[in-house]
């Protein structure tokens, strides 16, 4: 074994270590989703990593959810008190936004984006 072999091996291991540490540090946020449910039934699921604006119109009323910078926040609600707008943003872990008048729960989850068909049917 020559010296350059050792350098090569150490460099590959270094790349593996950097990737591994990077994935461990930033991995979780990329994997989490935010779920909206009404009366306990899921109506939508979106990745937290991608910024987007979501209108949630149900039989109970209208809400608007903004996902930006890995956080989901309720920005509009047409209920009388609008308490959900003052609740902390959902950003993974186990925190929730609950809009009681609209029976709406926003929570973080680890599952996949909701699909219209299941994997087999696709």
């Amino acid at each position: 074994m020559k010296k350059k072999d050792l350098i090569l091996i150490v460099s590959i291991l270094a790349v593996a270590a950097v990737l591994g540490i990077g994935f461990l540090l930033f991995g979780r946020s990329g994997q989490t989703y935010v779920t909206a449910s009404v009366d306990g039934k899921e109506i939508g699921r979106w990745p937290l990593a991608k910024d987007r604006e979501i209108d949630l119109d149900t039989d109970y009323g209208h809400n608007h959810l903004s996902i930006s910078g890995g956080e989901a926040k309720m920005t509009e609600a047409d209920c009388p008190d609008g308490l959900c707008k003052y609740q902390d943003a959902v950003k993974g872990g186990d925190n929730l936004i609950i809009c009681l008048p609209h029976h709406l729960v926003i929570e973080a989850s680890g599952g996949a984006e909701q699909a219209d068909t299941d994997t087999v049917a696709k």
Partner: protein, 161 residues
Amino acid sequence: MAKKVAFCGMLTALAMIFSYVEALIPVNFGIPGVKLGLANLVVLAGLWILRPHEVLMVSVSRIILISLLFGNGVSLLYSLAGGILSFFVMLGLKKAGFSGIGVSAAGGAAHNIGQLATAALIVQTAGIFWYLPVLLLSGVLTGVLIGILTGRVLAAFGKSA
């Protein structure tokens, strides 16, 4: 020429035996997808005793035959991607003057990268690359082991890697 063909055929058979033995007695590292890759010993030694296109033929024949005998269409794709990428990486490094252990370590890593990339294409999920660090590490470790073994084999041929 005939002697060369016969020699390549014997090396292919030897590589197949290695694949078979490894399937019979798996050296379990406790991580899915991680194996020793004994057949790479033949490819690696081949780089020092055959011409490049002959080594590629031995490697590809071994992969196709083993997949036909024991695998399926999907396993053929994975193996070919890993085998071919690893071959070209090892050939390049050998020409760049690296010795057997370095060539083998990089070849092991390249083999795993090829397989993982194929898996990512097949399941259409980039998330599978989370597994890359583990596979790089294991590819280098098994590659170093195979490199040491190949050094011993080549020494018996009176050559040094």
